[in-house]
């Protein structure tokens, strides 16, 4: 059965160039980057190059990039590291949005258990947070403001620059989880005006297990990992050279493939129109808001998203409902709930996220299959 992969916000296939570079790093340049000899120097050179590529992708300096195991570690590092550094000063209040990724939300919960207070900014049906909401919530005791750049489930882009300006006016540090925006839209750390930015390699055709935290020069942050003097004392432990090399190559490729974004936007728009035309009782969540070009989140009246996902998988189409929990089952989306959607809408929506491999023919095939699949699910006798 031909299969079409429409879940690029979950992960992407590594680019062959990435894989080749990683294999070389594993096989040929296996040295420890901390070693003084030739082998170490070769590995170190690869790391330097990767760091530069990641920095270039987001308009940063290489020295500001700390490699991590991915987006979740970067988010943990940013929030915990900043919290530990700042709480001595008496500021113990943190602000984020209600639609953050679990990596941020659950790290905030952990900080709350050790005495921090937190405010989650609401979003309306637009799926975008209003700067006025931050102005209302922030105080001079607010230490950290963390706002995701693009939402993973619906793709809406948050006004990070405007929020960062408000936060800085109150002396708060600003973090953005840019895992879903990097390589999907232009991301420039100076233009965003933030202090900390998380990114993850496998979201843009890099490998899993490799990400980075950008730390603006001069930002105080406790180390993510205590150990040797790796990553400028920010994160101990011998570096994941193959992973970081893969991340670097993916970053370099992303800068060269900006034309791809326009193609994805057109493909996504065609897909959305096609679904709305072909299937009754459908609506795009977050439509009308600024969104990353590859993502759409569509509600199907009278259909359980869980069943639709399974039925589509059996037809060869891989989609998602946004986020999955520990066992892989589905829960009502906290993002759609935060947008104020009624309960049934939070459980009848699926996410389709496009990527480099997707073709017009695949979108056509999905559009051809959907009406029958949805129709079959809707004939179920509702008890």
């Amino acid at each position: 059965m031909p299969r079409a992969y429409f879940d690029h916000n979950a992960t992407t296939p590594p680019d062959p160039t990435v894989v080749a570079a990683m294999v070389r790093a594993l096989v040929d340049d296996f040295g420890n980057p901390s070693s003084v000899h030739h082998f170490g120097q070769c590995a170190k050179a690869l790391l330097d190059e990767a760091r530069s590529s990641v920095a270039d992708l987001i308009g940063a300096e290489p020295s500001e990039i700390v490699f991590t195991s991915g987006g979740t570690e970067a988010d943990n590092f940013a929030l915990r590291g900043a919290a530990e550094a700042l709480e001595a000063g008496g500021r113990r209040h943190l602000i984020a949005t209600a639609i953050e990724h679990e990596a941020v939300l659950n790290t905030i919960k952990a900080l709350q258990r050790r005495g921090w207070t937190a405010t989650l900014l609401p979003v309306g049906a637009s799926g975008v947070v209003e700067p006025a909401a931050l102005s209302a919530a922030i105080t001079d005791r607010t230490a950290i403001v963390s706002v995701m750049h693009a939402n993973n489930e619906i793709g809406t882009i948050q006004p990070v620059a405007a929020l960062a300006a408000i936060a800085h006016a109150h002396g708060a540090l600003v973090h953005t989880d840019a895992v879903q925006s990097v390589a999907k839209i232009a991301v420039d750390v100076r233009a965003l005006g933030v202090d900390l930015l998380s990114l993850s390699g496998h979201k843009f055709n890099g490998p899993k297990g490799a990400g980075a935290l950008w730390i603006k020069r001069g930002t105080r942050l406790l180390p993510a990992m205590t150990g040797g003097k790796h990553e400028r004392n920010r994160r101990g432990g011998t570096e994941n050279v193959p992973g970081n090399v893969g991340l670097g190559v993916a970053a370099r490729l992303a800068r060269q493939k900006t034309g791809e974004l326009a193609r994805l936007a057109a493909l996504r728009d065609r897909l959305e129109r096609g679904v709305l035309d072909a299937v009754d009782g459908t609506a795009v969540n977050g439509a009308g808001s600024p969104r990353v070009p590859n993502t759409t989140n569509i509600g199907f009246e009278g259909v359980e998203a869980e069943s639709l996902l399974i039925a589509l998988d059996l037809e060869g189409f891989a989609v998602s409902t946004g986020s999955a929990c520990s066992s892989g089952t589905l829960e009502p989306s906290h993002v759609l709930r935060a947008m104020g959607l009624p309960a049934h809408r939070t459980q009848n929506s699926i996410r389709i996220s496009l990527g480099a491999g997707n073709t017009d023919a695949e979108v056509d095939a999905l559009l051809a299959a959907l009406p029958a699949v949805v129709g079959r699910l809707r004939t179920l006798v509702r008890r």
Partner: protein, 364 residues
Amino acid sequence: MRTGSEFTMRIVVAMSGGVDSSVAAALLAAEGHDVIGLSMQLYDQSGGAAGDLRFGSCCTLDDLSDARRVAGALGFPHYIVNFERRFDEEVVSDFVREYVAGRTPIPCVHCNGELKFASLVDRAHGLGASAVATGHYAQVEHDAASNRFRLKRAVDRHKDQSYFLFSLTQAQLAHARFPVGTLHKDAVREEARRLGLRVADKPDSQELCFVAAGAHAAFVERRAGKLPAGPVRHRDGRVLGGHDGVHRFTIGQRKGLGVSSPIPLYVVDIDADTATVTVGPRSALDRISLTASKVNWIAGQPPGAAVRASARIRHRHQEAPATITPEPGARAHVVFDTPQAAITPGQAVVFYDGEYVLGGGWID
């Protein structure tokens, strides 16, 4: 229409992660069917802050992983579906209500009837599947003469689970498959070993999946709050002591009564309205008859007149000959030939005609 293996179809298999449903899936896959494994998540698996899992004797994360491994090893797709809300509404809430009402519930029947079959048959249809299979030890037969489906005991009488399936409707039976119902448990384990499945020697689950043995009282109080205290009264009228809620008792219970007596005393009656637990000697447990409600007749309709059958009043009860008289409103009056001990409201009574289940209901 029910078929043999002469042609293949898409079949949903409810996989608990145990050996029985694993082998059920394997047998269907070996027959060439397009098997889709579904495991039901029935309650929150996320655990607390420390990552500790809540109690569960089945359907735990480990069980879900076992099911996924089996599907992976046998090469068919497997999905975990979230039934938390429905399990809570239809099984757990009923369990709590029954104990509060002074009855002794048997949630597994609700789980089988309302969740596993009703919901999964729906799901299966939505996924283009023609049947739902489980690892139950029971058999379904199609009777050509009446064009009806019959529910039959498993070949392995020790493992027979037909008691738990009495509430299945004709429509559900038409889509039900019990592939291990024709096998002995030893053969099922042997088949699992032959296939190299890791679950081959996994112990059977014995307890309720959502509450630990002996912990049901605390569970009921967490959900329903503290229940009123009341007297423990001898059936001759004397008050022998007190208790902290009727949910702590079941008919026939001897231990934990908090009263002393020269002869053993048993719970013979529970009245939730007055919070009274009545005790008496063993002989006081005997009853000759019972009334059942929400009776399901496997044939799809009640018999026109009273029928003779063997009636089983709990899973491990040695069924006893009785006369069953259908009554209006899906009820039935059951008169045993000889008195039966500890007929317990809330349990199921299931009627057998030899190897076949005629029907069953809930003891009032």
